[in-house]
C-alpha cells in the first residue's frame, strides 16, 4: 500500500494528521508532509479512515 496525496487538492487542514500523526504531518509552514508513504497492512484501517475523512478527497491508496 502506497499513500498518494494530490497536493493541488490538499488544503492542509490536518484532518489526516489527527487520525494518523505518525503518517501525516502538517508542519509550521502549513504544508502537509507524508512521514511514511508505505505503511504496513496494520495501518490500513487508519489510512482508509483518512481517505474517507479528507474534506478535499485528496488522499488515495495505490496498491503496488
Amino acid at each position: 500500500m502506497r499513500i498518494v496525496v494530490d497536493f493541488d487538492l490538499c488544503e492542509s487542514n490536518a484532518v489526516c494528521m489527527q487520525i494518523a500523526p505518525d503518517i501525516f504531518e502538517v508542519r509550521d509552514d502549513d504544508f502537509l508532509y507524508i512521514l511514511n508513504e508505505t505503511p504496513g497492512e496494520a495501518d490500513r484501517a487508519r489510512v482508509e479512515e483518512c481517505v474517507q475523512r479528507c474534506p478535499k478527497q485528496a488522499i488515495s491508496i495505490a496498491e503496488d
Partner: protein, 400 residues
C-alpha cells in the same frame, strides 16, 4: 422488535446521505440501498459554493462528490429530483411529491437545511441566498455582470465567505450585521472582532449593530434600508442569516422534531430510523449537550454513524468534537469544539496582529474549543485534547 433492516432508504442525497450509503457498503451491507434526493444533481460538495465555484476558479463539476459509475459500482440507486412529502412509520411508507408511495425498511433522514429568507423579498431580482449549486450559479452570474455594489446581509461564516469572494472579484461590498460584533455568539467578542478587522482590512464596508428594515426595488433590487433609517444602494444582495432544518415532511409522522429531528445519543430516531447531518439533533455525550451541527465534517461522520447504527445496535453513541473551517481571503479559519460567547479565551501560539494564531477556549476548568487562523496543525492538536476531556490548565501547558 428491533432487527437489522433488509433494505435501506436514505432521504436527502447530499453529504450526510451519500456518506450513509457508502458506509453501509463499507460495513458489508448487501441489501438494496436507495438515495432519494430533491435536487436534480448528483451529490455535490457545498463548501466550494461560497469559495472556488463562486469565485469562478472552479467549474461546478469539480464539486461533485460522486459519479454515476461509482454509485453503480457500489450498488446505490439514486432517485433524484424526487422530494419526500410524508413519512408513515406504522406502514413504513414514504410519500413522494410525484404522488407515489414507496415502502422502506431501514431509513436514514438526511434532508439537511435550507436558508432562512427575508420576508418580502420574494420576486425581487438580484436578491440571493446561497445553499445549492443552482443558488451559487445564479449568484455567480450576477457577480459576473460586475455590479456596482454588493450588500451582504449577515456576517456569519457564509456571509463572510461571500463577502471575501466578492472582494476577490474586485466588487464593492457592504456587509450588514445585527450584532455589535460579528460571530460574537460563536467566537466571543474578542475573536469576533478579529474577524471583523479582517474584512475591514480587505475593504469591506462593515456595518454592525444595525438591522435590515427592508430590501426594495422595482422588479430588481435597488436599495437596502437599515433599521437606523439609512439606505445603501445595491444591485446584488446576498442574505446569509442562518438556516432552517428541513423537517416539514415529517409533520404528523410521530417523530419528535425540535429544531431538527430529535435522536438518541446513537443517532436513532425510531425503530430502524436514524438521522444525520444538518437536520439531526442529538445528545453529544462528550459535551453533555444536545446539539445540531451545521458543518461538513459532522455531516460526513454522522452519515456514516447513522448507517452503522442501523446495522448494529452496538454502534454506540456519536461523540464527535465538532469541527469546521472557513476560508476568507488568504485566511483559513478553523474552529473545533463547542464554544460559548462567555468562555475564557487564551491565545496559545502565534500573533493575533499577524492574523496567524491559535486560541483556546475554557469553561468550568476544561478545554472546550480551539480557534485557529492559519494554524491547522494546532487546531487538530488541541482538538485531540478536547476529545480526551483535558483540563484547561493541561491545554495551556501543552507545547505544540
Amino acid at each position: 422488535m428491533t432487527r437489522t433492516p433488509r433494505a435501506v432508504t436514505i432521504v436527502g442525497a447530499s453529504l450526510a446521505g451519500l456518506n450513509a450509503a457508502e458506509a453501509l457498503r463499507r460495513e458489508g451491507f448487501d441489501g438494496p440501498v436507495t438515495l432519494i434526493g430533491a435536487e436534480t444533481h448528483l451529490p455535490y460538495d457545498r463548501p466550494p459554493l461560497s469559495k472556488q465555484v463562486l469565485a469562478g476558479d472552479w467549474e461546478p463539476e469539480r464539486a461533485a462528490l460522486t459519479d454515476p459509475e461509482e454509485l453503480e459500482e457500489d450498488g446505490i440507486e439514486a432517485r433524484l429530483g424526487v422530494r419526500a412529502t410524508a413519512l408513515d412509520l406504522d406502514a413504513r411508507q414514504l410519500a413522494l411529491h410525484t404522488g407515489e408511495t414507496v415502502e422502506f425498511d431501514g431509513l436514514v433522514i438526511a434532508t439537511g437545511a435550507r436558508c432562512r429568507t427575508m420576508p418580502g423579498t420574494e420576486g425581487i431580482g438580484g436578491v440571493h441566498v446561497l445553499r445549492s449549486l443552482d443558488d451559487c450559479l445564479a449568484l455567480r452570474a450576477d457577480f459576473e455582470a460586475m455590479p456596482q455594489r454588493v450588500v451582504v446581509v449577515g456576517a456569519g461564516f457564509i456571509g463572510a465567505e461571500v463577502a471575501a469572494t466578492a472582494r476577490g472579484r474586485g466588487l464593492d461590498v457592504t456587509m450588514v450585521e445585527a450584532l455589535p460584533t460579528p460571530l460574537s455568539r460563536v467566537l466571543g467578542d474578542e475573536m469576533g472582532e478579529v474577524c471583523a478587522e479582517v474584512h475591514r482590512d480587505h475593504g469591506v464596508d462593515l456595518r454592525t449593530a444595525v438591522g435590515v428594515e427592508s430590501i426594495s426595488g422595482d422588479g430588481r433590487v435597488e436599495r437596502v434600508t437599515l433599521s437606523d433609517g439609512s439606505t445603501i444602494d445595491a444591485d446584488v444582495v446576498v442574505v446569509g442569516i442562518g438556516v432552517i432544518p428541513n423537517t416539514e415532511w415529517l409533520d404528523g409522522s410521530g417523530l419528535e422534531v425540535d429544531d431538527g429531528v430529535v435522536c438518541d445519543a446513537s443517532c436513532l430516531a425510531a425503530d430502524r430510523v436514524t438521522a444525520a447531518g444538518d437536520v439531526a439533533r442529538w445528545p453529544n455525550e462528550l459535551f453533555g449537550e444536545t446539539m445540531r451541527v451545521e458543518h461538513w465534517d459532522n455531516a460526513a461522520q454522522q452519515g456514516a454513524h447513522a448507517a452503522r447504527r442501523l446495522l448494529d445496535a452496538a454502534a454506540g453513541p456519536f461523540t464527535p468534537v465538532p469541527w469546521f473551517w472557513s476560508d476568507q481571503y488568504d485566511r483559513k479559519i478553523q474552529l473545533a469544539g463547542r464554544v460559548h460567547g462567555d468562555d475564557e479565551v487564551r491565545v496559545v501560539t502565534g500573533s493575533v496582529d499577524e492574523r496567524r494564531f491559535a486560541a483556546i477556549y475554557g469553561r468550568a476548568g476544561r478545554i472546550v474549543g480551539v480557534l485557529g487562523f492559519n494554524r491547522p496543525r494546532h487546531v487538530m492538536r488541541y482538538r485531540a485534547l478536547i476529545e480526551q476531556g483535558a483540563s484547561f490548565d493541561e491545554a495551556l501547558a501543552a507545547e505544540y
